[in-house]
């Protein structure tokens, strides 16, 4: 058992044999003196593909990352089509069958993942430098020339449905989908990242093919390579390989309008899970976009509220009262939208006390602000925990493609410390007032309705759902 929960995927596995002390909190950003992003090159091919390269020779491997604007915000009516398409990229290409890809990569211990998130699709790989000639041509075809084999698509579609059904057994697996639908409603940001059973049921290989044709193209996409290679040689290789990737005839840009949130009253969404023994809940509202100029300052302030073990929320709900194993708060900044949420869980019978105490802590931050010592501590923490986020070639490749999508550059890393340092208590107060929603808070509760419905009504108008019901 862990003291706190690390990444969730970890926990599900660890939980069988290991208990952790604490849930490690989503936002860890910090930095120590002199931490700078290693040098990298950025260039654009004739077809519009943006390429990043960075040499890192600590181990003889290469990490590859590609970002394509083909996430769930592009799903339209076909909820889940982006997710299934990304998975199906590996089901055979122009020159490689599915089994040829799998056998070639498995044999050399290379891994290749293709998946999609709410905002974009990603292809990532890691392989030994000596295997570059084997792996790169496969990656290239997976991205630029997939063939959506009908039988394989059908098999994956069934697995996807099983997984969607199984997600509903764990409140933690579905809570973000409910939350984003609740806040963004019919805007594209309300689309669940992995779709819904009723829409996925009908997908065929040709649906995937047309989604692919419309959204997978070099313009508005980026690839990054980080690792042990010769820069000039790699540049030539990448140019040769990816220049032939043709642009789409249409427009594959993912430009969206910022969603208008109709949060003019407090609302409660209550999702009934009949066999629940605890209530899992979020409280929050509108957050910020990733390009917000105060992004760093917001992270520091959130660290105080709910971004580390001694944060005010965890201190009150876990350390002082033992109501939960962990409580946190987080901003989820995206390209065109953002959310903010306080997040925790507690035994069904403690639901009301836990919500009330969370609200008290939150209100206290608004009324009293942050004292000097606590702010200094949070700044030190955020700085100290920053470098390990950019230690491996995989992390660095991911960072480079994120830069592309969110439109930032190495200044974010290189000025991080200075930006953290700049924050004083007065500015912190202003950040709280400006970005931490105070009025019309939104509540999402997953638990046993029968026992907590009357409590839910205290906080606003209640909308009810069944966790087993399709959609969010």
């Amino acid at each position: 058992m862990l003291r706190t929960n690390f990444m969730r995927k970890f926990i599900d596995r660890l939980i069988i044999l290991v208990l952790a002390y604490f849930i490690v909190i989503p936002f860890s950003m910090g930095q120590t003196a002199g931490f700078q992003l290693p040098e990298y090159e950025k260039f654009t091919l004739n077809n519009g593909l943006t390429v990043y390269m960075m040499q890192q020779a600590e181990v003889p491997t290469i990490s590859f990352s590609a970002l394509i604007p083909a996430g769930a915000i592009q799903d339209g009516e076909n909820s889940g089509i982006s997710f299934l398409t990304a998975a199906a990229l590996q089901f055979g290409t122009e020159n490689y069958s599915k089994s040829e890809i799998e056998e070639a990569l498995d044999f050399i211990g290379a891994n290749l993942n293709s998946s999609s998130t709410k905002e974009y699709a990603q292809v990532s790989a890691r392989f030994a430098s000596k295997d570059t000639e084997t792996v790169l041509p496969i990656i290239k075809e997976v991205i630029t020339a997939p063939k959506f084999d009908a039988e394989e698509v059908e098999k994956e579609r069934k697995r996807m449905i099983s997984n969607l059904e199984r997600d509903r057994e764990s409140p933690r697996s579905v809570i973000s989908s409910y939350w984003e639908k609740f806040l963004f409603a019919d805007h594209a940001y309300g689309n669940p990242a992995r779709g819904t059973v009723s829409t996925v049921e009908s997908f065929t290989a040709s649906d995937l093919e047309s989604f692919y044709q419309q959204h997978y193209a070099p313009d508005n996409s980026a690839i990054a390579l980080v690792g042990d290679f010769d820069l000039a040689e790699m540049k030539t290789k990448i140019e040769e390989m990816f220049s032939s990737w043709e642009k789409t005839s249409g427009n594959n840009s993912a430009n969206l309008n910022e969603p208008e949130l109709a949060l003019d009253s407090s609302r409660v969404m209550l999702v009934n899970k009949g066999d629940a023994r605890e209530t899992t809940f979020l409280i929050g509202g509108k957050g910020v976009k990733r390009d917000n100029p105060d992004y760093v300052a917001i992270q520091v302030v959130n660290t105080v509220l709910g971004g580390r073990f001694t944060s005010w929320l965890n201190d009150e709900l876990r350390v002082n009262t033992g109501l939960t194993y962990g409580a946190n708060s987080r901003f989820t900044p995206m390209k065109y939208a953002g959310t903010f949420a306080i997040s925790t869980f507690t035994a069904t019978e403690n639901t009301e006390e836990t919500i009330d105490r969370a609200l008290q802590v939150y209100e206290r931050m608004h009324s009293e602000g942050i004292d000097e010592e606590t702010l200094t501590s949070a700044k030190n923490y955020v700085k100290g925990q920053f470098p390990p986020n950019y230690e491996t070639s995989r992390q660095l490749a991911g960072l480079l493609t994120q830069m592309f999508w969110y439109g930032f550059d190495e200044n974010y890393i290189n000025t991080f410390q200075a930006n953290v340092e700049e924050l004083d208590t007065q500015k912190a107060q202003q950040i709280i007032e400006q970005y931490f929603p105070k009025e019309n808070l939104q509540f999402l509760l997953i638990g046993k309705s029968e026992d907590i419905k009357s409590i839910a009504q205290k906080y606003g108008e209640v909308v009810e759902k069944e966790i087993t019901e399709d959609g969010f």
Binding site: R3, R13, I15, A33, V59, N111, Y381, P388
Partner: protein, 437 residues
């Protein structure tokens, strides 16, 4: 959901590799028996300290099940110099973060910090190892935390529920019988005195190995260890765990009810501990069965027959003989009996026909890539070095592993499959919604 337990399963095949050698690990042992392993690595301006205590749920007995894990929580709740809450406050003020985990065998405390905080971390750790104070009010609030941790695990993970049931069926006498989190009734019942006794027994400096990696200098670490840790006296040696699980002489089965959309299954076989000669062959066999899309179980169950949506195996490090387990989740509308049959069919194929040469080579290649990942970060270094030191008895074994893997032949794989994958040696657990009343 596909990878092995990363914290528990260190990459075991470690080639002789330029970037890191056994000589890069510098060691010393204090007079009180506390051992230090230090790896200098200045790639980022950070460092870590991993403290491995040789105590876990296997050291417990009914009445105090879950105490090792609970104790791990209490280590954060106040000592002589730094009172309740101060450990975390001081650490975070200095830019550090921490976590800790407990398994059947060990309790591990992990600190990650900017290198400037090294001395503060020594001070904090020395304080709680040397003079922990157990406050009754803190025991009560921590009880709530652990009950919540227990409940949220059961709420969110069917594997946890089923894994506990399988262990309690496969182990009748050995202390691997109960879960690391312990019985709810024990969690609610233990007293301050139980905790004090536990601390005095198991948190002796001689029962601890400390690994430090990162932007630090060996001489500085040694000097800090001398001034902060050396004064802590060694007062006693914990009693060895004497329990031995008798051989299993017939298949055991257990069913658990939970509202799930399709059945979950675990098949566990008793296997030897980490220091047994068959460890490397079994470890390779585990990869052959479930690692990657070309592995035997994935290819047959998930891809070709579509009986499962996921399958994996686990064979981790263990002080005492433990289980080699196969985990599978049935696909929609698949009868779990068909899934179970298909698992055995693959296992029987290995027993009857052995494996192919390129399968063996594939695993050896994958182990090399694992090694690169493990030493790419300072945390990977500390966790691996510490795990080898504890489970294999010597961190140098990490550097001998390639040779050990090279020695494994196709015949060895077939032999261990026949030796351990017997019906009479297995425990089968099924978790499903529609259990008969």
């Amino acid at each position: 959901m596909k990878k092995l337990l990363s914290i528990l399963c260190v990459c075991l095949s470690v080639p002789v590799f330029g970037q890191m050698k056994a000589d890069d690990v510098q060691t010393f042992t204090l007079d009180n028996g506390m051992k230090f392993l230090v790896i200098e690595d200045g790639s980022i301006p950070n460092a870590n300290m991993y403290l491995f205590y040789k105590v876990g749920s296997r050291n417990e007995h009914p009445g105090i099940t879950g105490l090792s894990h609970f104790f791990e929580h209490m280590m954060f709740n106040g000592a002589e110099k730094y009172g309740p809450k101060e450990f975390d406050r001081v650490m975070e003020y200095n830019g550090g973060a921490n976590n800790a985990y407990t398994t059947q065998d060990v309790t591990v405390y992990t600190n990650w910090f900017p290198n400037s905080a090294l001395e503060v971390i020594f001070d904090l750790e020395a304080d709680r190892i040397g003079s922990l104070s157990i406050d009754s009010a803190m025991v009560e609030s921590e009880r709530g935390v652990v009950l919540s941790e227990r409940s949220t695990g059961l709420e969110n993970s069917p594997w946890r529920v089923l894994g506990e049931a399988v262990n309690s069926t496969a182990f009748l006498e050995h202390s691997y019988n109960w879960s690391v989190i312990g019985y709810e009734s024990d969690i609610k019942n233990w007293k301050k005195e139980d905790l004090e006794e536990y601390f005095n027994t198991y948190y002796d400096p001689s029962n601890c190995v400390i690994v430090i990696s990162g932007d630090v200098k060996f001489d500085e670490v040694k000097q800090l260890a001398e001034s902060y840790m050396a004064p802590i006296p060694s007062t006693r040696q914990p009693k060895p765990v004497h329990l031995v699980e008798p051989p299993q002489t017939g298949e055991r089965r257990i069913t658990v009810q939970k509202e799930v959309s399709s059945p979950y299954m675990i098949v566990g076989y008793h296997t030897p501990n980490t220091q047994h000669g068959d460890f490397y062959a079994l470890d390779i066999l585990s990869s052959i069965l479930s690692r990657g899309k070309t592995s035997r179980l994935y290819s047959a169950l998930v891809d070709q027959k579509q009986l499962a949506t996921g399958v994996f195996t686990n064979f981790g490090e263990s002080f005492d003989p433990n289980l080699f387990s196969v985990y599978a989740v049935a696909a929609r509308e698949v009868d779990e009996a068909d899934l179970e049959e298909a698992i055995y069919e693959e296992i029987e194929k290995v027993k009857a026909e052995g494996i192919k040469e390129d399968e063996l080579q594939k695993i050896k290649n994958q182990k090399l890539m694992d090694f690169y990942s493990q030493i790419e970060t300072i945390n990977g270094k500390s966790n691996n070095i510490g795990t080898y030191e504890l489970f294999f008895g010597d961190y140098r074994k990490m550097f001998d592993a390639p040779e050990e893997y090279e020695k494994v032949t196709m015949d060895d794989i077939q032999r261990v499959a026949n030796e351990y994958f017997k019906k009479s040696n297995r425990t089968v657990g099924v978790l499903k919604a529609n259990v008969e009343d």
